[in-house]
Amino acid sequence: MPSPNRDQGGGTPRCPRTPPTPEAREIVFDFLSDYDDPSIWGAFWMTVKLTALSGVGSLVWGTLLAAMRVSPVPLMRGFGTAYVNIVRNIPLTVIIVFTSLGLADIFGMTMGASDFDVRGFRLAILGLVAYTAAFVCEAIRSGINTVPLGQAEAARAIGLSFSQTLGLVVLPQAFRSVIGPLANVLIALTKNTTVAAAIGVAEAALLMKEMIENEAQTLLIGAVFAFGFVVLTLPTGLVLGWLSKRLAVKR
């Protein structure tokens, strides 16, 4: 999220800070309660919402892309391949900024919201989905590759069509073998939501930048937010890691 210039002019910082008093230890973490629009909880809640909604979206779109990449229609295969290879190679910041500058401002895709807060939120999800889906697609595709050939052959032998073979036989097994990789994608997605700050979505990273600018306590504030992300991502990794072991197809 390159924000080349914020708060160029001035005015007073948005969230004033109580003046330092001798009981410094008491008020070291003062900044946590000084901010109420949004509060630190509100900001992390926004991070969670972004992660959850983009996670679901990119799972759907990523699965569709993977299906395209293994489909019998050459043009769809080509599109899937091109999409993944282009999107994966662009920094997420560029994609997110494009949803706002390009999609919304130029192409008039306002996401059914005239309020910029809501629109920014939806555009950020769109950008995150577009980007993350490329990684989901690759993970699922490698999952498809782990399904033994016999499975697909047997499916075809009993007369299932391509979509039935994929949807009923191959994908269910593929998903079970890629829960680990998908968990990694989800963790990365959680951290990537910080990029949404570039288009003004009031999530954790935006609040952190604001706090650092106003408080000049970079290390302390950074540590609080780093801790927040560890709290969000570590359990995700552990739970899904356990799940992937439980659900793994024993072969």
């Binding site: 190679n89 662009i90 993350t132 680990g180």
Partner: protein, 294 residues
């Protein structure tokens, strides 16, 4: 592989595929036409906005120095993170708990913190405890942040790669009397790295893209950062983003192409080692690491 999922198309299936292709093509072409038309309507295609990119000064003053810094940070981060990642990956597989534990903790911790924050911490660290000059500090901080995060991810990739190897490999190595260290460096690691090359490469692409985070808070003048200065001069925000995106795509395409060429060479050269690693296994385990690659 994909051909296993459907029968060889007969006449009807061929017709259906052609029909689907045509429908898909028409929809796609309509989309492109609409994009072009709207850009034109909004005046975004005016030559005046694109013309700066044909001037040498736009490149020599803004884009090339930015690209240079991006490449410098990415290359440094790569050459440091790769061996470090291998080291941590191996450490996590150690027989000794006191090696395994800390290595695991470090890897899990740095994977969980956003790279931007790691860069921020590194910047403060270099300021307080070293006398790195203020010109060089952003570069140091960016490289440090990238190394900490990506070495952790690479460690997981290497670990998954080693675990994916058939057990017979290490058993055979032990049987001919190799030590644990020799088994690792002479037998397991080379095979694991080859097997995990796709995942490693996509992680290298991540490093290139993540240099862009250095411009956000610690003032590293990488490509995306100099783009802002360029756009302020030529008043072409949208166009500058398009050009920078293309540069990144080309750059990363070159990296992945080089890697797949290298992979081909390595695979061919490996035939004599007699490792039975079906492409499915390789791809499957590659995914274990590939997931973290964002």
């Amino acid at each position: 592989m994909s051909s296993v999922l459907y029968d060889t198309p007969g006449p009807r299936a061929k017709r259906r595929n052609v029909l689907l292709s045509v429908v898909f093509f028409v929809l796609f072409a309509l989309l492109l036409w609409w994009i072009w038309q709207t850009m034109d309507d909004k005046g975004q295609l005016r030559w005046a906005l694109w013309e700066p990119f044909t001037e040498s000064q736009a490149w020599t003053t803004y884009l090339l120095p930015g690209l240079g810094n991006t490449l410098k940070a990415a290359a440094l981060a790569m050459v440091i993170a790769l061996p470090l990642g291998a080291l941590f990956g191996i450490s996590r597989l150690s027989d000794h708990r006191w090696v395994r534990g800390p290595a695991g903790a470090v890897v899990e911790l740095f994977r969980a913190i956003p790279v931007l924050l790691l860069m921020l911490f590194a910047n403060e660290f270099y300021d307080r405890y070293t006398n790195v000059s203020s010109e060089q500090r952003p570069l140091y901080a960016v490289v440090t942040g990238l190394v900490l995060y990506n070495a952790s991810v690479l460690a997981e990739i290497v670990r998954a790669g080693i675990l994916s190897l058939p057990k017979g490999q290490s058993e055979a190595a032990m049987a001919i009397g190799l030590r644990k260290g020799q088994t690792m460096t002479n037998v397991l690691l080379p095979q694991a790295v080859t097997a995990m090359l796709p995942a490693i490469v996509s992680q290298l692409v991540v490093i290139v893209k993540d240099t862009a985070l250095g411009g956000v808070m610690i003032g590293f003048t990488e490509l995306l950062n100099t783009r802002g200065t360029l756009a302020a001069n030529y008043a072409n925000v949208v166009q500058s983003f398009v050009v920078v995106a293309i540069i990144f795509i080309v750059l990363n395409f070159l990296i992945t192409s080089f890697a797949s060429w290298l992979e081909g060479r390595l695979r061919r050269g490996k035939k004599s080692t007699g490792v039975v690693l079906g492409p499915a296994t390789v791809e499957g385990t590659a995914a274990t690491g590939a997931g973290g690659t964002i």
